[in-house]
């Protein structure tokens, strides 16, 4: 039944392309204001990063307190027809001597774009951002989370897609066909952050309901007065897995978990309203599928005080996170939490910046602290620091299945995985 939904969408794509053919013919098509009338252009960017993660405690599975790694990323972009057509290729490779799951290459992006008057077509592996809030990316579901890179869920894997974007006076309409599904990445038991778990990726599975069909999504966004509004619909494989316990459970032995990906339908809403130095933000979703339906909301504001700290700007952030799964809310989602944070833009020669905050479950007292800061060194280097700490919850030990099944205890899995990460990146 779900399989059949891709067909009407294709029909819609065709209908829309007919419409835009008629409407967009008269205006001159310029796809990139900086492309000019020069011939094909080729751009090449690269960066090499050295990373060191330090953990105050050995991992629950006996992992080391230091985890060094190195990564390289290239971006090659070629455009022609005054920028109307372009190819983007962005390979990435990380070498991690400890963790085999982080010793891997990935194609971050590899896509062709055509930009016409009032429309765009993209085909290939791409990354797309949806949303507004700072503490959690709730509605952003097209791209799978690359969890081995960072547990903040900001790193994403490229998703194969064919997409059409229409730019109209009444707003922007995007339609996506998403063939192929990419599973979430997890650290191996030699790497971190794992908690007391061993993720059995070899046996992971897409449930039958989600198999043999093409995912699709629609998004409409528009600036209405002061409000930037986005509405999205996603129909496909849930990017967030459920976990099944596999094999025997023994005290002191990591619990083996198998990720399982079900089917979902999600309606998403995101909005931002700027008033003076206040930015109000909202994201909300309703998700159904083979798991029980649930709703979640993140809403809050950021207030920017320009010159509050001499030359530096200060941003104050406050957000409320709600998920109606309550105590059954999985790890990395927040049932009833408050995020408070501050951002400093130093406005110095090195473009230094800092973002620090904490997400607190005010009922249980569980806290997730985070700090991100970076500064440029010389002309080509950037030094970044990132720290995360998990507090206010009892640690979950290897083999403690009773603890794991206790509502609200999952966060205890990360208690031994507090870390500080330093990264030095050379840009070319």
């Amino acid at each position: 039944m779900r399989c059949g939904l891709a067909r009407p969408l294709l029909g819609l794509l065709l209908l829309l392309s007919t419409l835009l053919g008629a409407e967009g013919a008269q205006a001159q098509a310029v796809s990139n204001p900086f492309a000019g009338s020069a011939g094909p252009r080729t751009e090449f960017d690269a960066s090499v990063a050295l990373q060191l993660r330090g953990f105050p405690r050995r991992g629950e599975l006996g992992q080391d307190r230091l985890q060094p790694s190195a990564a390289v990323e290239f971006t090659l972009r070629r455009d022609w027809n005054a920028g109307a057509d372009s190819l983007t290729l962005s390979p990435f490779y990380r070498f991690d001597p400890e963790d085999g799951q982080r010793r891997r290459g990935d194609l971050r992006e590899a896509f062709y774009s055509h930009v016409g008057s009032g429309f765009e077509i993209h085909a290939g592996l791409r990354r797309v951002f949806w949303g507004q809030t700072e503490s959690k990316r709730l509605v952003d579901v097209l791209n799978q989370v690359d969890l081995v890179e960072n547990v903040d869920e900001e790193d994403r894997l490229g998703q194969p897609m064919l997409s059409l974007t229409l730019l109209r006076d009444w707003g922007v309409l995007e339609a996506y066909l998403l063939p192929g599904f990419r599973e979430r990445t997890f650290a191996s038991t030699d790497g971190r952050l794992t908690g007391p778990f061993a993720i059995d990726e070899a046996r992971s599975g897409i449930r039958r309901v989600a198999k043999g069909r093409v995912d699709w999504a629609l998004r409409y966004s528009h600036l209405i007065g002061d409000v930037e509004l986005g509405l999205s619909w996603f129909e496909g494989t849930n990017r967030e897995p459920d976990f099944a316990v596999v094999g025997p459970v023994e005290q002191g032995v990591p619990i083996r978990l198998r990720p399982e990906y079900g089917a979902m339908s999600q309606f998403g809403l995101d909005a931002a309203l700027i008033r003076g130095d206040w930015a109000f933000k909202l994201e909300a979703l309703r998700r159904g599928g083979d798991a029980p339906s649930h709703s979640a909301v993140v809403l809050g504001f950021e207030r920017t005080l320009v010159g509050a700290l001499g030359r530096a700007d200060l941003g104050l952030l406050l957000e409320y996170l709600f998920d109606d799964r309550g105590r059954r809310t999985p790890l990395l989602a927040y049932a009833n939490d408050v995020f408070a944070g501050l951002r400093i833009g130093f406005n110095d020669l090195a473009d230094s910046e800092l973002l620090a905050g904490v997400i607190v479950d005010h009922r249980s007292g569980r806290q997730v602290w985070s700090l991100e800061a970076s500064t440029r060194i010389g002309r080509h280097w950037r030094l970044s620091a990132q720290a995360r700490a998990f507090a206010g919850v009892q640690a979950l030990r290897a083999g403690d299945l009773t603890g794991l099944l206790e509502p609200g205890r999952q966060w205890g899995a990360l208690v031994r995985d507090d870390y500080l990460e330093l990264e030095l990146t050379r840009f070319f």
């Binding site: 205006a27 310029v30 796809s31 000019g36 922007v172 003076g276 320009v306 030359r311 950037r382």
Partner: protein, 278 residues
């Protein structure tokens, strides 16, 4: 900072032929207001600003490359390379796009602004690593732009309605003569209490601006030079200098590769366009 070609009365006829009636009318109107003894200082000040804006109208769109050299008080310096695209607003305000090329760690970062005469501007910051176009508070415009001595509000084309104006007089400046006009920001978020603006009387280009902070103390001095004329009517500075008297910091801007009438449209100044800049 858009200033344009204009002419002394002697060149008036030739000017009419070259430019067309719009620009000449702006010039004529200004001369009439300045010659009118009954015109208030406010009316005269606004007339200079309006005329300066009108003589530069009709550029359609503009592309330019800028090298920024930032100096701090200790003598350290840092460079940025940016490109700017501007779309002249017809019914709505101007739209502009600023793209960072250097330093390399900032490459691809972009700022999209939709100016509005009657309400707060809309502004988005594009973060290339996240593929995210983030709507930001336009109030950020009073803070330093990219760590420089220029605030964003110093860099964008002014809507005359953003200020109250007052004509001070005609003074000598450099080799020529200037209209000295004071302007007072209307927006409460502005970093300034007032600015003294010096318009070249012959061309209506802005040659110099003195900025005063919210306490009324002298804050910064802006000087433009190395002028070039484009399409026989648009004057553009090749060099700008902003000195902060309170901190000793200084920023130089070197402008190059101006091009006008590139056929840009509203699509190029959309949040979708931010994803494909290079």
């Amino acid at each position: 900072m858009r200033c344009a070609w204009s002419a002394s009365p002697l060149l008036f006829t030739l000017f009419l032929l070259l430019i067309g009636p719009g620009t000449a009318a702006a010039r004529e109107q200004l001369e009439a207001v300045l010659a009118d003894p009954a015109a208030s200082a406010e009316a005269r000040g606004l007339a200079v600003a309006e005329a300066a804006r009108r003589v530069d109208a009709g550029y359609g769109d503009e592309l330019v490359a800028v090298r920024m050299v930032l100096h701090d008080a200790r003598g350290s310096s840092s460079e940025r390379a940016i490109r700017i695209a501007t779309l002249e607003g017809v019914e709505e305000g101007d739209r502009s796009l600023i793209l960072f090329d250097a330093p390399r760690d900032q490459r691809g970062t972009a700022l999209l602004t939709w100016n509005h005469a009657q309400r707060e501007d809309d502004q988005w910051l594009y973060l290339p690593s996240l593929r995210r176009a983030k709507k930001i508070a336009a109030r950020n415009r009073s803070g330093p732009f990219a760590g420089s001595e220029f605030a964003f509000e110093d860099l964008t084309a002014e809507e005359t309605s953003n200020y109250r104006w007052r004509f001070v007089g005609e003074v000598s400046c450099g080799e020529g003569r200037c209209y000295e006009v004071e302007r007072f920001p209307v927006e409460s978020w502005s970093g300034y209490s007032r600015q003294q603006v010096f318009y070249d009387t012959a061309t209506l280009r802005i040659e110099r601006i003195e900025y005063f902070d919210r306490r009324g103390d002298a804050l910064k001095t802006f000087v433009a030079g190395d002028w070039s004329l484009h399409d026989d009517r648009h004057w553009r500075a090749g060099y700008m200098d902003m000195r902060n008297h309170q901190t000793g910091r200084r920023t130089e801007l070197l402008w190059s590769d101006h091009s006008f009438g590139n056929g840009l449209g509203a699509d190029d100044f959309s949040t979708a366009a931010l994803q494909r800049l290079n």
